[in-house]
Subunit: 108 residues, 2 copies
């Protein structure tokens, strides 16, 4: 991982590896984070293109505005589970979801 990218991620609160890391994990670790960021972007795009507010989405999900904000910000306290469930609740199809993941290598 390039240093500049690592800085960008750690700035968001991500922990990239640590002393007792398996070498083998770091690669998949990065892929995992990229997927999450891509889904976060997808969520934001979907919601705003629908013209609904975070608060509205939150109530449809039975969650809270703050959590929606964190989801879209790619906050590390938000799980993949929640991201995926939110996207699905927004009507995202499996194919669309799959596309996001397939293209997650391109997270800038």
């Amino acid at each position: 991982m390039r240093a500049s990218k690592q800085r960008k991620l750690t700035a968001k609160g991500w922990k990239i590896g640590d002393a007792k890391d398996f070498m083998a994990l770091s690669a998949s670790e990065e892929a995992y984070i990229k997927i999450r960021l891509k889904l976060a972007d997808g969520l934001k795009a979907r919601r705003s293109s629908r013209g609904i507010t975070q608060t509205e989405l939150a109530s449809a999900l039975r969650s809270s505005q703050s959590r929606v904000a964190k989801m879209e910000a790619g906050d590390p306290t938000v799980s993949l589970d929640l991201l995926v469930r939110s996207l699905l609740a927004l009507g995202t199809s499996n194919r669309e979801l799959a596309a996001m993941i397939a293209h997650s290598l391109r997270v800038t």
Copy 2:
């Protein structure tokens, strides 16, 4: 959701909706569960095709054999996060992961 399928899932410990459900959630809820089951199958297939044991995979993941077993069984106490991280750790590419999700409508 057909009653027979619902029975099959609830037998595994899944809770499908409940009294105070949003109608809108139940559909995506089902999609979500199907994705998880598909990934669970994928994990099992990948591991055994590599000829490694659950215990070996567990140690590579720094997890435990029991958790790997639960993952493969589609146990509801296993999160999507863990499933995805495990698949990635097994070397699954984003494209392959995406394919699993795209095809998750076909979980039998």
